[in-house]
Symmetry: C2
Subunit: 224 residues, 2 copies
């Protein structure tokens, strides 16, 4: 096997070149501001649908990057899977952190007591704990719906990454969040339609973190 196939940074650079060329061939034009996010999601899924599914509120990337460049930024995910996929080196460089409350016993208890999902209970917990966290929802539409309620009650997340996946309530939850974030000028990245997932949530976070930390070239991430 050639050397370029065994060095992770080279593999990623090759992959990005291939998918960029293929996006052009397919006529999938993406504004430069969004390209790092869109390409990283396609890189994570090999699914070019995301070139059309991903929507951004005005200046979402710029506002997200500015948020992550301030030390003390917080990403809250709705799965431990997404949490595990978010780049530790980038968070360390930016002095940010990621957390997920889904497995806490008090979340299970709260969910049972209130007849809500653990994902919704986690959103309650996160909005109480942090004044302006970034919420990354890759799985549960109920998390997105609950976050929308908090926003309607005055909460202002620093960023909404809304990419839950599925067949029940997912499309509607994303549409509601998009119009809410647009009307209130809250930065949001959403995968419209049914598609998404924890891997997509992590990819969106990483693209934004790498941009904020100036680690877009894979060699800058130290595992070359």
């Amino acid at each position: 096997m050639e050397q370029e196939h065994t060095r992770p940074a080279d593999i990623e650079r090759n992959s990005m070149n291939i998918l960029t060329a293929e996006m052009e061939q397919r006529g999938l034009a993406v504004p430069e501001e969004y390209a790092p996010v869109v390409k990283r999601v396609i890189h994570a899924t090999a699914d070019f649908d995301y070139a059309e599914n991903l929507v951004f509120t005005d200046h979402a990337v710029e506002m997200a990057v500015r948020y992550f460049q301030k030390p003390g930024s917080v990403i809250l995910t709705d799965t431990n899977m997404a949490r595990a996929g978010i780049s530790r080196p980038a968070l360390e460089k930016l002095q940010g952190q990621v957390d997920c409350f889904m497995a806490l016993p008090e979340i299970a208890e709260k969910a049972r007591a209130e007849g809500i999902t653990r994902a919704a209970a986690s959103v309650d917990y996160g909005t109480a704990l942090y004044e302006d966290a970034a919420f990354a929802v890759g799985n549960a539409p109920t998390a997105l719906l609950r976050l929308a309620e908090h926003i309607q009650n005055g909460y202002r997340p620093a960023l909404v990454i809304g990419v839950p996946v599925g067949f029940v309530n997912v499309v509607e939850a994303k549409e509601q969040m998009l119009s809410l974030c647009r009307s209130l000028n809250i930065p949001a990245v959403l995968a419209m339609g049914r598609k998404g997932g924890s891997n997509v949530a992590a990819a969106v976070c990483n693209a934004l973190l790498y941009t904020a930390a100036e680690m877009l070239d894979p060699a800058d991430r130290g595992w070359n």
Copy 2:
């Protein structure tokens, strides 16, 4: 919101009904033996391509289920993300375990010293540690290629879940593994083509674990 939208077990049951109906509409017939795996992957991705991409070696599901029903089964993943996505309740019920070596300092060191990827170094580590683990590869084709080398040298994994995603070496690595597993009668589930991911690896594992643990109905998983 209706009650059925807030209870996770009901959401999952509804989702499975919707996607089953839609598979029929699309003419995507899947043999009954494979249906739980295929449906769980579509549930995790909302991507019906997997009804055609996923291939199984003969009796793969039956052999995998038998392996997981023996106490002491081991799943080794190539990402901590896939590890985080695999059902703890199912593993506990089956007395199985999951591990991922990617973040161990000795893996980074071995990879540097030998000029291989951490994913390949993890496969070396796993094959040395376990006589017959299940390998779940959702990210790195180099892990699959390395595992193929070990198989050619006589190693026999209990199961190969080969669903790496990407644009470089991914298609070839899966094709090589498929013919290898077919010729040696090693149970394997592979997502042919470029698509896959840690979420897909976790979904395949969970479908097999839930079948083995008789937890296919979501209410049996205790988080209803």
